[in-house]
C-alpha cells in the first residue's frame, strides 16, 4: 500500500517535471509556431541564475521563483528583438537560428563559469509515507507544475490579455485591424515563454548537477513532449506529459532508467505515427 503511494507520487512528479520543462517551449510553439531550440539553454541559465543568486545570499525561493524567470525573461526579450523577430513564419530558419543560439549560450556560460559541476541543495526535507522516505521537493515540483499550467490556462482563456494574444496568433491582420500590434504581442509572448523556461530551470536546479551542457539533456525531451502534444498549449502539453511521464516512470520502476527513457521514445514514435498532428490535432481540439 505504501509502495503504491510512492509510485503515484513518483508518476505525478515525472508528469509535473515534464510539463514544467516543456511549458516555455509549448507557449512559444503553440502560440507562434516558433521552435526555440535554445530552450534547453534557457532552462540551464535559469538554473545558473538561481544558483548564483543563492550563493550571493538571496533566499532560495526568491532565487528560484523570481530571479531565474526575471533574468531569463530579459534574455528572451533581447533574443526576440535581435534574432527571432526577423524570422517569423520561417519555422525552419528559427529552428536553426535558435540552435546556433543554444551553442552560443553554452559557450558563453562555459567561458564565464567553467565546466565544473555546480549546484545547490534542496530546501525541503524528506517526509515519510509508511515505511518509505520521499523527497519533499518532489511535492513542491508537483505543486509548481500544477500552478504553472493552471496559470497559463487561466491567462489564455479568461483574461483579456490572453484573448488578444490568441487572436493575434490566429489572425494577425484582424488583430492589427482592431488596433493591437501583433509584433508587440509576439515579443511579449516570447518573453513570457523564456521566463517560463527560466522558472523551470530554477525550480529544477536543486535536483541536478548543473553544467553548461545540461540544456542538451532537456531540450530533446521538451521538444518531443511539445510536438507530440500538438498545437494546443496547455491541453497538448498536459496530455503528452501525462502520457509520457506515466510510461517513463512505470517502466523505470520496473527496470532501469534507460528502459524508462527508451519506452518514452518508443511511445512517442507510435503516437506520432497514429496521430500525425499530435494529440490535440485529434482530441481536445477546441481546448487552449
Amino acid at each position: 500500500m505504501d509502495f503504491a503511494v510512492v509510485v503515484i507520487v513518483e508518476i505525478l512528479y515525472a508528469v509535473a517535471s515534464l510539463a514544467l520543462i516543456s511549458a516555455g517551449l509549448a507557449v512559444v510553439f503553440g502560440m507562434m509556431r516558433v521552435i526555440n531550440l535554445a530552450h534547453g539553454e534557457f532552462l540551464m541559465l535559469g538554473g545558473y541564475s538561481a544558483i548564483v543568486a543563492v550563493k550571493a545570499g538571496i533566499n532560495i525561493y526568491v532565487a528560484m521563483l523570481v530571479v531565474a524567470p526575471l533574468v531569463v525573461g530579459i534574455l528572451g526579450l533581447i533574443v526576440e528583438r535581435l534574432v527571432i523577430r526577423f524570422l517569423y513564419g520561417r519555422m525552419l530558419d528559427t529552428m536553426l537560428a535558435t540552435w546556433g543560439l543554444s551553442l552560443l549560450l553554452t559557450g558563453l556560460v562555459t567561458m564565464i563559469f567553467g565546466n565544473t559541476t555546480t549546484g545547490i541543495s534542496t530546501p525541503i526535507s524528506g517526509y515519510r509515507v509508511g515505511a518509505y522516505q520521499l523527497s519533499g521537493y518532489n511535492l513542491f515540483i508537483i505543486v509548481a507544475g500544477v500552478l504553472v499550467m493552471a496559470g497559463i490556462l487561466l491567462t489564455l482563456r479568461y483574461t483579456r490579455v490572453g484573448l488578444i494574444a490568441r487572436g493575434a496568433m490566429q489572425s494577425p491582420d484582424m488583430a492589427s485591424g482592431l488596433g493591437h500590434n501583433p509584433q508587440r504581442i509576439y515579443m511579449i509572448t516570447f518573453t513570457v515563454g523564456a521566463a517560463l523556461s527560466g522558472l523551470a530551470g530554477g525550480i529544477l536546479a536543486p535536483l541536478t548537477g548543473l553544467t553548461p551542457t545540461t540544456g542538451g539533456l532537456y531540450v530533446a525531451k521538451a521538444f518531443i513532449t511539445v510536438i507530440s502534444g500538438g498545437a494546443a498549449v496547455v491541453a497538448g502539453t498536459l496530455s503528452s506529459a501525462s502520457l509520457f511521464g506515466t510510461i517513463t516512470q512505470v517502466v523505470t520502476l520496473s527496470s532501469t532508467p534507460v528502459w524508462g527513457d527508451v519506452a518514452m521514445l518508443i511511445a512517442a514514435v507510435i503516437l506520432l505515427r497514429l496521430l500525425p498532428q499530435g494529440i490535440t490535432g485529434r482530441f481536445f481540439r477546441r481546448q487552449v
Partner: protein, 409 residues
C-alpha cells in the same frame, strides 16, 4: 552521452594541428618529451586539469634537479575534451609524430582502453595513473592507481563492520562500473555479506527518484556507489533531499577522486566512506613537501584542487623519472627493465613499489570519511600489493600479453 552535444561539436575528430606544430617546432634530441593526454575541458575536466598540473610540477622538479640523462624534460599537452575517440587520435600523434618517451594519460577506463592498444602498437611507453577496476596485463603499460584488491578490499570490510551485512550497489554503466560492481559483490560475499541488488546507470542519467524508492524497498544495511561524473552527482543530492542520508549509510569507490566532496554540501556528503591511496592529511615529509611545492607553483588557493588522481600522476612521473635515472636513458625497453627490478619511490601517498609481474604498484591505502567537505582518515593500511591483477597476470611468463582480465563471479 547526450551531454556531449556541445563538446562534441567543439571537439570534432580532426586532430589538434597546433600540437603537431609544437611537435615539429621542437628540435629533435635536445629534450626528452613526455605527453600529457588528459581531459582538460568538457565534463571530466575536474579530473584532468589537476592531473596535468601535477605533471607540470613533476617536470619542474625533475628539470631543477638537472634533468634526466643529461637532458631537460619537456611536456607536450593534449586536451581530449572528455571525448573518448580523441584519446586514440592523440595517442597516434604522440607516438608517431612527437615520438615521445612516455605518455601519461587516460582517466575513464574507457579512455585507457581506447589508447592502450595504439601505444602498444607503436611502441610508446604508457603510464595510467587513475584508480580503476584492475586486470590489465600489458608489458607496455604501468598502472599506478589503486585497484579493487587495494581499495575495495579495505573499504568493504570496514563498512560492513560498522553497518551490517546487506549491500545495495549502484554503478556507472561502462567497463569500470560493470567490473567494479563484480568486485564489490566478491568482497561482500567474502566477508559473509549479501548483495541485494546491482543497478547500472548510463553516465547521463540524473534522475534517481525511482531508484531511491527501490533502494528503500530492498532495505539494505548500506549502499555502495560506483557512480561517475557530474550527472551522477545528482544522486547524492536527491538522496539527501529524500532524507535518506541519516537512514542508510553509504560507501563509494569513486566519490572524492575529483574532489566532489567540495561540490556537495555538508548535509549531502558527511559520513560517506571512501578508500584510496592519498589524503591531504597524511603527515609525512614527502606529502608536506608536495603540498608546499604545489602551493608555490600554483598558489595556495589551488591546493584544494589536488585530488587522488593528481597525486597518482605526480607519483607516476616520479617513478618514470627514477627509472630513467636508473637506466641512464629514456629508451623504452631499458626503462621498462629498470622498473621491473621492483623500483620504488617515496611519494605524497607513501611508498610506491612496482610489481614486475603485473606492472601495477604496491601502495598504502587510507580509508576515509567525508566530514565538513574534507576527507578525514579513519584507517591506514600500509603496502597493499595488487593481488587482484597478480592472480591473473604474469608478464614474466607472458611478456606479449595484451588483454584486460575481467573477474568472473
Amino acid at each position: 552521452m547526450t551531454l556531449d552535444r556541445r563538446t562534441f561539436l567543439a571537439g570534432s575528430a580532426a586532430a589538434s594541428i597546433a600540437a603537431t606544430i609544437a611537435g615539429r617546432a621542437m628540435a629533435q634530441g635536445a629534450t626528452i618529451d613526455v605527453a600529457s593526454i588528459h581531459d582538460l575541458s568538457g565534463i571530466f575536466d575536474a579530473y584532468g586539469k589537476p592531473m596535468e598540473k601535477a605533471m607540470q610540477l613533476a617536470i619542474d622538479e625533475i628539470n631543477a634537479a638537472g634533468g634526466l640523462a643529461g637532458k631537460q624534460v619537456k611536456e607536450i599537452s593534449y586536451d581530449t575534451q572528455s571525448q573518448i575517440p580523441l584519446y586514440t587520435q592523440f595517442g597516434q600523434q604522440a607516438a608517431l609524430k612527437d615520438k615521445v618517451a612516455v605518455v601519461m594519460g587516460g582517466i575513464l577506463s574507457a579512455s585507457r582502453e581506447a589508447i592502450r592498444p595504439t601505444l602498444k602498437r607503436f611502441n610508446t611507453l604508457y603510464f595510467y595513473n587513475t584508480q580503476y577496476e584492475g586486470g590489465v596485463c600489458d608489458r607496455n603499460i604501468f598502472c599506478t592507481g589503486v585497484t579493487p584488491s587495494q581499495s575495495v578490499e579495505a573499504l568493504i570490510p570496514y563498512a560492513m563492520s560498522r553497518w551490517g551485512k546487506k549491500a545495495y550497489i549502484l554503478a556507472a554503466d561502462y567497463n569500470y562500473g560493470q567490473i567494479i560492481a563484480k568486485w564489490v559483490q566478491h568482497y561482500v560475499k567474502m566477508n559473509g555479506g549479501e548483495t541485494l541488488q546491482v543497478d547500472f546507470f548510463p553516465l547521463d542519467v540524473s534522475d534517481f527518484g525511482a531508484t531511491i524508492a527501490k533502494i528503500q524497498a530492498a532495505k539494505p544495511d548500506f549502499v555502495v556507489s560506483a557512480l561517475v561524473g557530474g550527472a551522477h552527482l545528482s544522486f547524492y543530492r536527491q538522496w539527501a533531499a529524500a532524507g535518506m542520508k541519516s537512514r542508510i549509510p553509504m560507501a563509494s569507490t569513486t566519490l572524492g577522486v575529483g574532489n566532489e566532496q567540495i561540490v556537495l554540501t555538508k548535509e549531502e556528503g558527511d559520513g560517506i566512506l571512501l578508500a584510496y591511496n592519498w589524503s591531504a592529511e597524511i603527515d609525512t615529509p614527502a606529502n608536506k613537501a608536495f603540498l608546499a611545492a604545489w602551493a608555490k607553483k600554483f598558489g595556495q588557493a589551488d591546493v584544494k584542487e589536488i585530488h587522488e588522481l593528481a597525486v597518482a600522476t605526480y607519483q607516476g612521473m616520479m617513478l618514470w623519472a627514477a627509472a630513467v635515472k636508473k637506466a641512464g636513458t629514456a629508451d623504452r625497453m631499458k626503462v621498462i627493465e629498470a622498473l621491473e627490478t621492483g623500483l620504488s619511490i617515496e611519494g605524497p601517498g607513501g611508498k610506491i613499489t612496482v610489481d614486475p609481474k603485473t606492472h601495477h604498484c604496491t601502495l598504502d591505502v587510507v580509508v576515509m570519511e567525508i566530514k565538513d567537505q574534507k576527507l578525514t582518515v579513519v584507517k591506514q593500511i600500509p603496502q597493499v600489493p595488487p593481488l587482484d591483477t597478480q592472480a591473473v597476470c604474469d608478464l614474466k611468463a607472458n611478456p606479449n600479453s595484451n588483454v584486460q582480465h575481467e573477474i568472473k563471479i
